[in-house]
Assembly symmetry: C3
Homo-oligomer: 260 residues x 3
């Protein structure tokens, strides 16, 4: 894994244009800022092209997508193609509503998405694998997250980062796992959104999206473990602040030392 | 008071669909998550029915309501009636603008709202009691919060949770008070929004809305006292994180020990 | 500098109506609340007049402005003129997109803005000074932030607060500097937004906008230094909570003791 990307990110300070949901943008922006990237959010179609022109990456988060803003999302992606900027898609709760699933599939059809980052339910919904429609049960062989991630990556010809207790990163053929975790990360609303935007930051500084997704997952999972170390498993409020603290100083060596 | 609802909530993990304001959704979502419920926010009318179908409760918060989203609010409530899901209304600042008051009254006219949660000014505006229009003065007999809460509950045939230094919960006839408090809770923006959504979570797991509102008020007020214990009364920033920490572990016994 | 305005603010509890961006409203509202002001956010044009009628100040933040909400912004400003309430403008990233620059300039043309608060890039874009269009380099004489601030204030006939490592406050002729700083303040997303709204709170309690802007800058910069004192320079997450804590108790003497 090219963990040197972390130093490269801090040297380059990539700009990440986010179409964010309205629940977690503050946490995501603070997380990107803490790590060393530069976040900007937008809600206006008429400035999309200007922003994408100067950005390193576009991150599309469907957490509170609505029909007033779909033209903005399409313009961000159209400009991303025009200026050869990578796109990361976070298909939040895409398994919960037909509206979100439809938007996500249209995006995947219309644009070359570099990386999809979601949890097992979201990735399974996109992969449209048989077992997914019967519900996800991580305990059965059929519902192996690695297989779901590969099916999704193969279907849409991109990199998939399926995050959970173990993160599975795949380009459809190769598979990389990150086994670091803390219960405090899923307790923190927006930790998945942040992971997508962090992957977005790394995707913005290398053409190797598979490596970028690995590094993004490793950085957040390991920093989470480090931040959680002195805390009890219920201290989610305190953890969120400490996670931001640690994102600013975590380095390659810290990660290599604990990476699973 | 049926404090066993707290254990039941954690066992059941109710889904709470929130039409949230855009100021405090992160805090509200983290608070619900910390307590053991499952929050989701939406801003799209076309996914409202899908979400309400799978939810336990709908919480409508008028904090930043606008005419682009009133159809979403009406659809959420229409679907709530269709699928027999309870609705909690937070009439934020309904006394401050005619627009908000009008929306709140139309909602109360069109839909069976299970619980209204507001402060004394908001509840008085809805109750349209004579004294309210002259301004609220907690020191006069006429402006007794308990009477205002009862007038509001009687007028709209629902449960009212009027929160403040003392919380008053009433179904129009019975009255329950929660006397626990800390100055740090009102110092935290969104603590009222969170209370409404917590009541929403409890309303989603029992048909007894009066009990659910009592338990919601008791849980937040007591957890606030517990979180505030080692802090000075100015440490609102630190308190917000500690409140989330404590919401995850507070149990029936902790609450019974300090409940006033 | 009239630091007595801080006591006056806490005695008067000015209402600050914010057209906020959707990234940092929670932090801004908590900061205003912690300091002793009363924040309200809105996203509905039909309630703008009602809110401005009862407010002390209107703060317009362009951080996520879009064409759905420009009528709201114009109505807020129109009502502010009608009711003689001051307006503070935060031209977020106005140098990054033509859309934002156009909106900011139209606002400045149509309404008497009391104070513009921005960073050197934003103020230079508004000032349209030659050197600004070549990029800002703080090291060259041409790009002197004080000169940029003066040019902007002269152009639009208002007070400009250009914030950065040093804050420059000017009415176009006089210049006041605040030299207090901590690296943790720029690490905190929304600290600029909060500064604009804090200046808004002070502008709402005095006709001397130049003094109000000075006090606003001094209060935030000095409170930042105080909050940062026991922290390492990477602890941005912890700092944000401590900043809120300290905003509640910081007083005139604390500020005078460390003001540079």
């Amino acid at each position: 894994m090219q963990l040197d990307l972390l130093n490269q990110l801090r040297a380059q300070v990539p700009l990440v244009v986010n179409y964010a949901n309205y629940v977690t943008p503050n946490f995501v922006a603070n997380g990107l800022n803490a790590l060393g990237a530069s976040p900007i959010m937008t809600s206006e179609v008429d400035e999309a092209d200007d922003l994408v022109k100067i950005t390193n990456t576009v991150v599309i988060n469907l957490g509170t997508i609505n029909h007033y803003e779909t033209d903005l999302v399409w313009q961000l992606c159209t400009s991303a193609v025009k200026y050869h900027k990578p796109i990361v898609l976070d298909p939040v709760a895409v398994g919960a509503t037909a509206y979100r699933l439809d938007i996500a599939q249209k995006l995947l059809q219309d644009f070359p998405i570099a990386v999809i980052r979601g949890n097992v339910g979201e990735i399974a919904a996109l992969a449209q694998v048989d077992w997914a429609t019967k519900g996800i049960d991580a305990g059965t062989g059929d519902a192996d997250p690695a297989a779901i991630a590969k099916a999704c990556a193969t279907r849409y010809h991109n990199v998939v980062a399926l995050s959970g207790i173990t993160d599975y990163i795949t380009d459809g053929q190769q598979l990389f796992k990150v086994g670091n975790q803390t219960p405090l990360l899923p307790l923190t609303v927006g930790s998945g959104d942040l992971l997508s935007s962090i992957i977005g930051a790394f995707v913005g500084i290398t053409d190797n999206y598979y490596e970028a997704a690995q590094v993004g997952c490793a950085v957040l999972a390991c920093t989470g473990e480090i931040a959680a170390q002195p805390l009890h498993s219920h201290e989610g409020g305190t953890f969120a602040a400490r996670l931001l603290d640690k994102l600013t100083i975590v380095d390659k060596e810290d990660i290599l030392e604990i990476l699973k």
